[in-house]
Subunit: 350 residues, 2 copies
């Protein structure tokens, strides 16, 4: 039995979306149970449901709460109580659609990082034109990364992909850069490429080399590693373009009676395309590097998207993502330690 702790209050839409998704999730996962965390008045109808335990939490972290407020003042928030279930061993994984900064801070405070990992990272999937998905990390948890952090992200990303696609080939890792040539990029990226190359030669990683922004969607590699600032900008710019094109399509098809008729004819085709590229299918980012599993849903997720986040969290728990990350970190420990030592030595010299 896999147990998910769900922060029912988090996200732009709160329980309306999260509980609808939980309903569907339970119907499709017979070997799962849910710890529903939130205000008692909202969760009252769920109290005597099979495979459901209601856990009361009196506070809610707002989407715009500063991290300090979420962490220090709201100690009985649904977000925090959900993560506490993972810490106490009562849940295999926690899921929340709340404020990313607060979620990362609380998860890090309660669960702590795995030995060998300095900073947790946020990993999510983006669609590939050939139909698969590229796992990208970090997407915003770390805005000032050193090469050793990016090496840690690469190792954790490989663990995530292996856990979600068990039995597949060793996933390939690309370093996000502004050109494929080894001489491109800033100093941090050049030093990272050296570290990743060494890790590849030592057999700890399947390192492909540098990739560019468009390679995320081409599907050149399984995993793209970048610092959180760059990853977040790439993600949001991508969402912006996709939104602009979809908005443009709607606008053009609504222009007059002829284009509206064309829309009716083209509708099944457009619907098939939208289904293939539907960002909701990619909802559910993993917070990697913690001593416990936490998944983050997009704040604006609807019930279908939130259900995908629950599914991903369930898959990760069932496939023992945590043990896989730990195992890879242990295997790569000498490399990670060497990278950190070299970095400290380099800093000491400056």
């Amino acid at each position: 039995m896999i147990t998910l702790a769900v922060d029912c209050m988090g996200g732009d839409h709160g329980p309306r979306v999260t509980l609808e998704a939980c309903e569907k999730f339970l119907a499709t996962h017979a070997d799962a149970q849910l710890l529903l965390v939130g205000k008692s008045e909202v969760l009252a109808p769920w109290v005597s449901r099979p495979r459901v335990t209601v856990i009361e939490a009196s506070e809610v972290v707002a989407m715009d709460d500063p991290i300090e407020i979420a962490l220090r003042k709201k100690k009985d928030s649904s977000m925090r109580v959900a993560i506490q279930q993972v810490k106490d061993g009562k849940a295999d994984v926690a899921v929340s659609a709340g404020n990313t900064g607060a979620l990362m801070a609380i998860a890090r405070y309660l669960l702590k990082t795995i030995e060998g990992i300095d900073r947790p990272a946020i990993a999510s999937q983006m669609p590939q034109e050939k139909g698969g998905a590229t796992t990208v990390l970090d997407l915003g948890a770390n805005v000032d990364c050193q090469p050793e952090h990016l090496l840690q992200f690469a190792v954790m990303g490989a663990a995530l992909v292996s856990a979600l696609q068990p039995g597949g080939p060793e996933p390939s890792v690309g370093l996000l850069n502004i050109g494929e040539e080894a001489i491109k990029g800033n100093e941090t990226i050049k030093r990272t490429a050296e570290l990743l190359r060494s890790a590849g030669q030592a057999g700890a990683l399947n390192f492909y080399g540098n990739v560019e922004g468009n390679d995320i969607y081409k599907g050149t590699v399984d995993i793209v590693v970048c610092d959180g600032f760059v990853g977040n900008v790439a993600l949001k710019a991508s969402e912006g373009v996709a939104g602009m094109i979809v908005g443009g399509l709607k606008h053009e098809f609504k222009r007059n009676i002829f284009t509206k008729m064309a829309a009716i004819v083209a509708y099944p085709v457009l619907k098939a395309l939208m289904a293939r590229m539907d960002h909701r299918r990619y909802n559910g980012a993993a917070l990697l590097g913690l001593r416990g599993l936490v998944f983050k849903s997009h704040g604006s997720a609807d019930a279908r998207a939130y259900e995908h986040a629950l599914n991903r969290a369930y898959d990760a728990a069932r496939n023992q993502l945590l043990d896989k990350v730990r195992g890879r970190i242990v295997a790569a420990a000498p490399l990670l330690a060497a990278a950190t030592t070299t970095a400290s030595a380099a800093e000491a010299l400056l």
Copy 2:
């Protein structure tokens, strides 16, 4: 009369594309003349054309030539000879579709930077969903920017937009970040935001505040400032998404006889959309901060896209972009100097 020096050999397709675009450009710009730079055998048919002067250059910078080769070994390249025309006062602006790194290095070497500018930047336009365009810089010339460089980019970007849209309101500037709140971002970005805010208060800039990746396409501001690494990733990720969606549309419409019929009906609508979003309309990036005007076309540009780059270069020259950049730099000189001094002091303290 506006004079453009054209590197006819540069780009993936060379003279086939550049000369076709030159033909159309001449037909639509009666007050322009062209200095066509390239191999004599290619340019022979153009020798006695009105408003055309052929300038022989015996070498060509290849798309994959290292910068050192382009700069030190190929002193008679079409790229270099074209820029030399600007330096010698024989042309108002140079245009090339060649290797970006080589173009920037040669332009910087021959023309030098304007006083007050440490590093030139590459500025280009990206489409907005409401129909206008956002000017983004830097797109890849500088991969390790300090706050004072980003302030310089902001001032130059404002000059570019003012020159290309004369008489419009003072263009607004956004700082690319991973959230709108002032507390977001890495250290460089936080310090940059302070500098831009001071510049705004001093009346040297219309500073909007932080923007996110999707704001480029929303059209939240006229100008988005970022370092070249981030800008390049955002640009290429955007191209990747757009390519994936367009490819997906084609794929879905080709699926069977019914979808092919739907495509015929929907074709005018899709064509209108593509025309609105056509990246060729946005071809032509300005190299800003040099003592002369240079425009860069996408290497893969077709004749229509290259013609847009020629048009943009012509508009910039006619609207005295160079004087406008200089004027703004002079006006902002105390701010720029203070930023640099503060930065040096901060570095000295470390």
